[in-house]
């Protein structure tokens, strides 16, 4: 009947849109992608038009994440058949080898891509990912630095490098990477806030003051960033409690911390409205802020 047909294809559209949104947001919700994608591929392939190829790619990567080699293999075969000799498909074949922990074979696969196309950034990044997977952080960092000398505008790479440095507790170099990102993305509140966290972790009065400034900047860019708000509170409180600061600086930071306290309390009140469970969070936050006021004075 006509009605059945309509509800059927609405379902397919919804599933396709879900997959597209997850692709655009770069969501790593692999189990859900496999659930939705596998059904689409198995039952509704004919209704997907040209979208099917990018869906095969997306589902394949998600399938590797879920150890579904059967599904990944199916997707790969379809892509190989449709795009013979494609570098992009070759890279996917390499990723499958990585998932099977066949790192040498995967590396050879990427090397062959790079032989044909030395500027293939995807293959270079996969090689660095292999080093990461093998726990060779120092090498991964070195390769990524070399990569960035050539591809200085690659934000994903700068961010990856900042994370590698943070994991090695090399906060100074992590800060440098985030500075690059902030320069090219001055309106991105997340980079500001992460930079502030790195500075705070580095410690010392100068870094604390810098961290406070960047938490404040992140808040200016997005006044709902709770990490920035908490960060502003913590950094200002620590500066105010520091015996080295003069009375003026102390007074200013007590003010910043008080303002942040207010905002934090407001945010919790707003969030806790109507829910019984959240009352404990609200109370805990109030008490925490009160107890820190005491240590500051």
């Amino acid at each position: 009947s006509v009605c059945k047909f309509i509800s059927y294809s609405v379902g397919v559209h919804k599933m396709r849109d879900k997959l597209r949104k997850w692709r655009e947001d770069n969501h790593r919700n692999s189990e859900q992608i496999v659930d939705v994608g596998e059904e689409l591929i198995n039952e509704h392939a004919s209704k997907l038009g040209d979208d099917i190829w990018i869906i095969y790619e997306q589902v394949m990567i998600a399938a590797l994440d879920c150890s579904r080699d059967d599904l990944a293999w199916t997707c790969l075969q379809e892509l190989k058949r449709q795009f013979p000799g494609s570098q992009r498909v070759k890279r996917l074949a390499g990723m499958r080898l990585e998932a099977l922990e066949k790192y040498e074979d995967a590396s050879k696969q990427y090397d062959s891509i790079l032989q044909d196309d030395p500027t293939n950034t995807a293959a270079r990044k996969r090689k660095i990912s292999i080093l990461k997977a093998q726990g060779k952080s120092a090498e991964a960092i070195r390769e990524l630095n070399e990569y960035l000398e050539q591809f200085v505008g690659d934000q994903e790479a700068w961010h990856e490098l900042s994370e590698l440095y943070i994991n090695e507790h090399d906060y100074g170099k992590a800060a440098f990477c985030l500075e690059e990102l902030m320069m090219t993305n001055p309106h991105n509140h997340l980079y500001c806030e992460q930079y502030a966290e790195v500075k705070y972790t580095q410690g010392g009065l100068e870094n604390l003051e810098l961290s406070r400034k960047y938490f404040a900047q992140a808040l200016k860019l997005n006044n709902r960033n709770m990490r920035a708000l908490f960060g502003l509170y913590m950094s200002a409180s620590h500066i105010a409690a520091c015996p080295k600061v003069n009375a003026t600086v102390k007074k200013a930071n007590v003010k910043y911390a008080a303002w942040a306290t207010n905002q934090i309390n407001r945010a919790y009140q707003l969030a806790g409205r109507g829910t019984k469970e959240n009352k404990c969070s609200v109370k805990a936050v109030e008490e925490m802020l009160e107890s820190m006021q005491i240590t500051m004075s």
Binding site: R28, E31, D65, A133, G135, E163, I166, N167, H169, A196, E197, V198, Y200, T201, G203, S211, M226, R227, F230, G231, M234, S235, A267, Y268, L270, A271, G272, T275, E277, N278, C280, S281, K283, A284, V285, E287, M288, S291, M292
Partner: protein, 206 residues
């Protein structure tokens, strides 16, 4: 003689659900125990019972500010509920890497300052299965400024059979999709890091 540590089903299962929710990330969190009323003379016979688990972060664990916020906030919450922070757990990013690192040792030491019998727990992801047939933890004690690994077996659990059965059931049912950690809470304050719904599920299955 060191007091032994025991985990309830709720504590164990929330730890594993946290690790299952983010298989591609490092995760960490805290364990809480009920505050002991008085110090008994032969208190070494009473094990420390970790009754609950508070999942903290996933991804980058080596930054200080949010960890400080979480520790302070959860400490306040503990005081209200007559709990004490008794342990720290961590699962590393790489499956094969289950050794303690600088982060786990630092946070563990910090907790040990307030609770001398604090345990540092590393999750061994190589043995992580849906069936949960064996405990997959390595438990470390703070001893003369070093962390020493002690045996983790079924005796480390209040009721291993129950823990195994319920954790496995919740994994199969994908309960980890609704598990909330402190990171999720910071993303949206309405997300409750005490995980009341999962606690209910655990009770329901008991």
């Amino acid at each position: 003689m060191r007091m032994s540590i025991k985990l309830t089903t709720q504590a164990y299962c929330k730890m594993l659900l946290h690790a299952a929710k983010y298989p591609h990330c490092a995760v960490n969190g805290l364990l809480v125990a009920e505050k002991q009323k008085e110090k008994k003379k032969d208190s070494h016979s009473t094990p420390i019972l970790c009754v609950d688990c508070i999942p903290l972060f996933h991804g980058t664990l080596a930054l200080a500010p949010m960890l400080e916020v979480a520790l302070t906030l959860i400490d306040t919450w503990c005081k209200e509920n007559k709990y004490v922070i008794a342990g720290y757990y961590q699962a590393n990013e790489r499956t094969k890497d289950f050794r303690p690192n600088q982060v786990s040792e630092k946070v563990g030491a910090r907790i040990a300052e307030n609770f001398s019998e604090a345990a540092m727990i590393m999750v061994d992801s190589t043995r992580f299965t849906m069936g949960c047939y064996e405990p997959i933890l390595a438990i470390y004690d703070h001893h003369e400024n070093k962390w020493k690994c002690r045996d983790c077996n079924v005796d480390s659990f209040d009721d291993w059979c129950e823990a195994q059965k319920i954790t496995s059931a919740l994994l199969e049912g994908r309960s980890y999709e609704s598990l909330i950690d402190f990171d999720n809470h910071l993303d949206d304050l309405r997300n409750d890091w005490t995980n009341p719904e999962i606690n209910k599920s655990v009770l329901h299955l008991c």
